[in-house]
């Protein structure tokens, strides 16, 4: 393996995309992903690609829509509020069956939220995010090395199925530095196959290509959606990626992705040192979700603990997989700056022993809110009331 180079996550990602053959980038400044467009601004020029600092996220994603339609490996990146704006373009990309890469270096939300890392865009990423019945392939790296190596995987999956791919990272992964080495040789864009559906100069006498997402005649849109669903089914069947650690003898199964998985690894060490048998499954593709494997593993453990920087968005998928057969718990750090291993270690014990410490529990919250409302005497106009 090549010597590791100390790199920031965002820069490893940008360089990884270039090496994967990305020759078009459009973006707009937003923390904590600014190193991506900054890196692209000079690197694309160096490799003869295009970089555009767009006037908005909306414009950037539509530039991506145009560029992706030409068959050139193209990407945009942003962070949570910016990705919300990009949903317009993402649904068009999905509806037009265009491969491309969208990166979300997530931060805290909703609204302006925070500029620190977050994971609260899980649902948006895995359910499509914009209008209409669609999915995007979602890859969740958990290290600088994966950030750098996933763009190639993302482009390949995206082109194989003509489904937009998303890399769902977070501000911690984007900002942190680690040793980086690429596990693939740089891709020569000229060596990639010519996309028969691409628009642009017609040098082969092919018939004209049309890129569109509409089907206004009766039955037309339904046929398009169903045809696309066939590819979704293949992706769900064939492209699930996950990693397992210590699952062989586990009593507690952690499910965590991205930076939460990193903190969970440290938490496992703490818990294992105390003699608690804890294992982890880390979904690497969030869609397709490793539901089948989680169901298998859940049947062998006493408790399943979801660790995420959101209020149970991923847990919805875990619950669907576990299907009530094993108790599931949640350690949530939504809006926090980072997940803390020591706290997760406590949550592991709580999940195993039926305790509440470090577990997020809606029933308890409802009770707390009920008491607060009673104290406020149901006075919605009272200063400071949030009822």
């Amino acid at each position: 393996m090549a010597e590791k180079v100390l790199m920031k996550g965002n820069e490893a990602l940008a360089e990884g995309a270039i090496r994967a053959g990305c020759r078009f980038f459009a973006g707009y400044p937003i923390t904590p992903q600014n190193e991506v467009p900054e890196y692209m601004s000079w690197r694309q020029e160096e490799v003869g690609g295009a970089f555009v600092q767009a006037e908005s996220e909306v414009a950037a994603v539509n530039m991506l829509y145009g560029a992706a339609a030409t068959g050139v490996r193209s990407m945009t990146s942003s962070s949570s509020p910016g990705v919300s704006l990009k949903q317009e373009g993402i649904t068009y990309l999905a509806g037009s069956d265009l491969p491309c890469l969208i990166v979300n270096v997530m931060r805290g939300g909703p609204g302006l939220g925070s500029i620190a890392g977050g994971q609260a865009d899980y649902t948006q990423a895995t359910r499509g995010g914009g209008n209409g019945d669609y999915r995007t392939i979602v890859l969740a790296p958990f290290s600088v090395e994966e950030l750098g190596n996933f763009p190639k995987k993302a482009f390949e999956l995206s082109e194989k199925y003509r489904i937009p791919a998303m890399i769902l990272a977070d501000g911690i992964l984007g900002q942190m530095m680690e040793g980086m080495s690429y596990n693939f040789e740089p891709v020569d864009p000229a060596a990639l196959c010519v996309k028969p559906w691409a628009i642009g100069p017609n040098t082969t006498g092919r018939k004209r290509n049309q890129v569109y997402s509409y089907g206004l005649a009766e039955g037309e849109l339904e046929a398009m959606v169903l045809k696309r669903a066939e590819r979704y089914a293949l992706v769900e069947r064939d492209e699930v990626i996950y990693e397992e650690r210590n699952t062989e003898d586990a009593d507690v199964l952690i499910v965590a992705y991205g930076i939460s998985a990193r903190a969970s690894i440290a938490a496992m060490e703490i818990a294992r040192a105390k003699g608690i048998k804890v294992g982890m499954i880390r979904p690497i593709t969030l869609w397709p979700f490793p539901a089948k494997r989680i169901a298998e593993l859940a049947s062998k453990v006493k408790a399943v603990l979801c660790v995420e920087m959101s209020l149970g968005q991923m847990k919805v998928d875990v619950d669907l997989a576990v299907n009530g057969k094993t108790p599931t718990y949640l350690h949530a750090k939504s809006g926090a700056f980072f997940p803390v291993a020591e706290e997760i270690a406590v949550a592991i014990e709580s999940a195993l022993n039926g305790k509440k410490e470090q577990l997020f529990n809606l029933a308890d919250l409802a009770e707390k809110a009920t008491n607060e409302r009673a104290e406020a005497k149901n006075a919605p106009c009272k200063e400071g009331a949030l009822l």
């Binding site: 414009a59 539509n62 145009g66 339609a69 569109y212 997402s213």
Partner: protein, 256 residues
């Protein structure tokens, strides 16, 4: 017998859905003739808008992409930057370009993208049913301004060609009309020039086409033409607002 005219090769032989009297079909024909004359059909991409011209991709015999409302210039930017040899034009109406897509058109123009934009101004939203547009005249009624556009509430109409001509990068901006044979000939010249500029790498070129919408204006086509000449033209005077012979790159090189 000699045929003195024929359907341009760049215009497909399909029935258009435009209403009688609508200016879109005339503008389409002028663009298609231009594509034929410049022999660029094989490398042209039309960016179809949202609005009445949404099906422009079904009419032009070239590659196409249909995009979200207002984003044509951004999409065109993406195509042109990814494939600089392509000829890209964004075809947009007034709601699309002057309202929801204001940021995209202004910044594509400011960047001086080497693309062509055809802007059809008929002072109303067509496809959605006659709502007020940014270009709707003062006093002109619309389904969202039943008493007529009131400048105190809705402001004054926006003159897009004049606005864009204040930017440094755009090379060519002209407003034309398709209300009469002489004006159609002038419109053709303008459209052709806007494409030639792109072929010759001169830079961002923009043609605003005044057009009628008899259906949503609630008038006959002939009355519509009267309205265009008597009411629209005073607000939107025809003419060239910007015409630079050299590209921005040439100007910088010469230190101008």
């Amino acid at each position: 017998m000699n045929a003195i005219t024929k359907r341009p090769e760049s215009l497909l032989d399909v029935t258009m859905h435009y209403c009688p009297g609508c200016g879109h079909s005339v503008a389409h024909r002028l663009i298609a003739e231009t594509m034929d004359e410049l022999k660029i059909r094989e490398r042209t991409v039309v960016v179809a808008p949202v609005g009445c011209a949404v099906f422009a991709d079904k009419y032009f015999n070239c590659d196409s992409i249909q995009g979200p409302h207002g984003r044509g210039p951004a999409i065109a930017t993406g195509i042109k930057r990814a494939k600089p040899d392509s000829i890209v034009f964004s075809y947009q109406g007034d709601g699309d370009l002057a309202s929801i897509g204001m940021a995209e058109i202004v910044h594509a123009a400011a960047r001086g993208e080497n693309i062509t934009v055809i802007f059809i101004n008929n002072a109303i939203y067509g496809m959605t049913g006659g709502q007020m547009a940014p270009t709707t005249l003062v006093g002109q009624t619309a389904t969202t301004a039943p008493k007529g556009r009131n400048p105190l509430l809705q402001g004054f109409p926006m003159n897009i060609s004049e606005m864009l001509s204040k930017l440094e990068s755009p090379r060519y901006i002209e407003r034309v009309s398709v209300d009469s044979a002489p004006n159609v000939i002038k419109a053709k010249k303008a459209i052709k020039k806007a494409f030639e500029n792109q072929v010759n790498k001169i830079g961002f070129s923009f043609v605003e086409v005044l057009s009628i919408c008899p259906t949503n204006w609630g008038v006959t086509p002939l009355k519509g033409l009267d309205f265009l000449r008597e009411k629209m033209m005073p607000q939107y005077p025809l003419g060239v607002f910007k015409d630079e012979k050299e590209s921005v790159a040439q100007k910088i090189q010469e230190g101008k």
